[in-house]
Amino acid sequence: MKDRAARPPTLVIGVGNDYGGDDGVGLRVAREIGALGLDGLRVVTVAGDCTRLVGTWTREDRVFLVDAAFSSSVPGAIHRMEATDGPLPEEPLWRASTHSFGVAEAIELARALRQMPRRLVVYGVEGKTFTPGFGLSREVDRSVDRVVRRILEELRS
């Protein structure tokens, strides 16, 4: 295991909306990781306005970002993508926003401004329902622990 002092600073970001059904999964994962109180780990939640992502990390950070996804996959499916060196793929799609600025756009804006972190990994959890309301669907709720475990494994590596 690498010496703790040599590990890059690490940031976990949960993006979403608690009142948008499965759109809250990113926030839930971030809160669960934050509750562990791990040394040297910053946890941030971003609800709604993804332009806030720009400037949330530094160029030295290793970043894990979690958000809901909506594509043709099975609800609860976990997508993992590297965004350090190139844009997120078109599939899975991120939350549609009437304000036209989601996670994918925010990452490309940071890239255009030369403000990318050292490493950026994006986890998307396939949502089932995004209708207004509080609480995750059963399928997505079951995936929360799996995403948390996978991120913790990556943190240890």
């Binding site: 306005d49 720009v54 030369r114």
Partner: protein, 438 residues
């Protein structure tokens, strides 16, 4: 987004089925026949949201929180129009300190909303970029400045409103909690930076290439005896309109057209009118701070400016003024003794007019004895600007038929984006007709 421009026979059409870089879902369609524009439509197809309907039966205290959900960019505007309308109905007046805090909250919203629009949604048009991300590659410093200005505004809303989106700290009578002076003080450094950054922004926007378009608009906004307007004042225009909030529905009529799920507004007996930052600057130029006024003059923005493309300069001037106003309020702030004044329910009708980032926002509520909402009317600025947008499209296309189709389409989108339309806000009304055919 699909966009088409086609020529056929002696006709030509410019159509955008789904506008980019506007909030909400809308399109445009212009038809030209024998060299004359015969039709111009700003099409809003976002589904109606029925806020006026489900406010019925709710308590008056709920109006600020419910109406805030109409918009994620301008929730403060809805909260301000709601509380002022309710306080008008209930005979309540907040004290000087609470009034100042409301203005501070609005400063934050203007900075956040204008910051987003100027840099990410509108500036790309002037510089030939498809979007703000592409623009950021070549104009990184400018975009970073814009994002930081927006963040300063968002920080004010978050601190004072309790949350950045859909603030939770606003209520009829004041706030649920007011900050101590020490909580506001950390904003001062950011705001001092924001003033300088906003000056640069005004100067930068002044140098953008502005297409030619001028019309003899009727500009409408609030006007206050002493201040650049936020929450109070009479509704005035450059053609003699001068009314109170209570006279709004006598002077303004709303109609439904097939191609829009938002009601369109007009001044009775006169026609379309223009609300928003350009209208405010035109009608309240003397109420700007000396610095904001000086920078506006230097930018060539003096009353009456009739080129809607220069709305981007007006927004930049308002970012500057709002940063200065926020500094002034924080500099003289003393926490009020109570976060709110006492409010007692009673029957009545109340009217509120405040200046949302995009223009004048009207609320009217009728209350019963217990303070329950019997009915509500909400007229957002984008609803009010629909007809003048169509008028601009008509005029602009007529003057620019020589442009190639793709360029003409792009410019038409820019014409719409001059108004920073908030389409989701405009689709609020209840008009439901059921026709049953046997």
């Amino acid at each position: 987004m699909s966009a088409r421009a086609k020529r056929g026979g002696r006709g030509r059409s410019v159509r955008v089925d789904y506008l980019a870089r506007v909030e909400g879902e809308g399109g445009l369609a212009v038809r030209v026949k024998n060299g004359e524009v015969v039709d111009a439509k700003f099409k809003i197809f976002e589904p109606p949201r029925f806020f006026e309907a489900f406010l019925r039966g709710r308590d008056f205290t709920e109006a600020p929180d419910i109406t805030a959900r109409i918009c994620g960019i301008c929730p403060v505007a809805y909260q301000m129009s709601a509380v002022h309308a309710m306080e008008n109905a209930l005979g309540v007046r907040v004290d000087v300190a609470l009034r100042a805090l409301r203005r501070l909250l609005y400063c934050g919203e203007w900075m956040g909303s204008h910051g987003l629009h100027v840099f990410m949604l509108h500036a790309p048009d002037f510089l030939g970029y498809e979007d703000g991300i592409r623009m950021a590659k070549d104009h990184g410093e400018v975009v970073e400045r814009g994002l930081r200005l927006k963040k300063v505004g968002n920080r004010i809303v978050s601190l004072l409103g309790g949350r950045e989106i859909h603030p939770i700290n606003v209520r009829v009578g004041g706030f649920y909690r007011v900050p101590a002076r020490s909580e506001l003080a950390p904003l001062e450094d950011d705001l001092r930076w924001a003033v300088e950054a906003a000056v640069e922004t005004v100067r930068w926007t002044a140098g953008l290439p502005f297409p030619d378009l001028e019309q003899d608009y009727e500009f409408v906004s609030l006007r206050h005896p002493d201040e650049y307007p936020f929450n109070e004042g009479r509704l005035v225009s450059n053609r003699g309109l001068d009314i109170s909030a209570g006279e709004f529905e006598n002077a303004i009529e709303e109609t439904h057209v097939r191609h829009s799920t938002s009601l369109q507004a007009a001044i009775r007996g006169r026609g379309p009118y223009f609300v928003g930052p350009l209208a405010r600057v035109n009608l309240n130029f003397d109420r700007l701070s000396p610095l904001a006024r000086g920078e506006a003059e230097r930018a060539g923005l003096v009353p009456i400016c009739r080129n809607p493309f220069k709305s981007i300069v007006a927004r930049a001037v308002e970012i500057l003024w709002a940063a200065e106003e926020a500094l002034r309020i924080i500099g003289t702030y003393e926490a009020p003794e109570a976060p709110a004044v006492e409010v007692r329910p009673k029957a009545g009708t109340g009217f509120g007019l405040t200046e949302a980032p995009r223009g004048t926002l009207y609320h009217r509520y009728r209350l019963d004895e217990a303070g329950g909402i019997r009915d509500a009317v909400i007229v957002p600025p984008t609803s009010q600007n629909q007809r003048v947008i169509e008028s601009d499209l008509r005029r602009f296309v007529q003057q620019n038929l020589h442009l190639a189709d793709d360029d003409l389409r792009w410019r038409c989108e820019q014409v719409v984006r001059n108004y920073d339309p908030c389409i989701s806000c405009s689709c609020h009304f209840l008009k439901l007709t059921v026709e049953r055919e046997s």
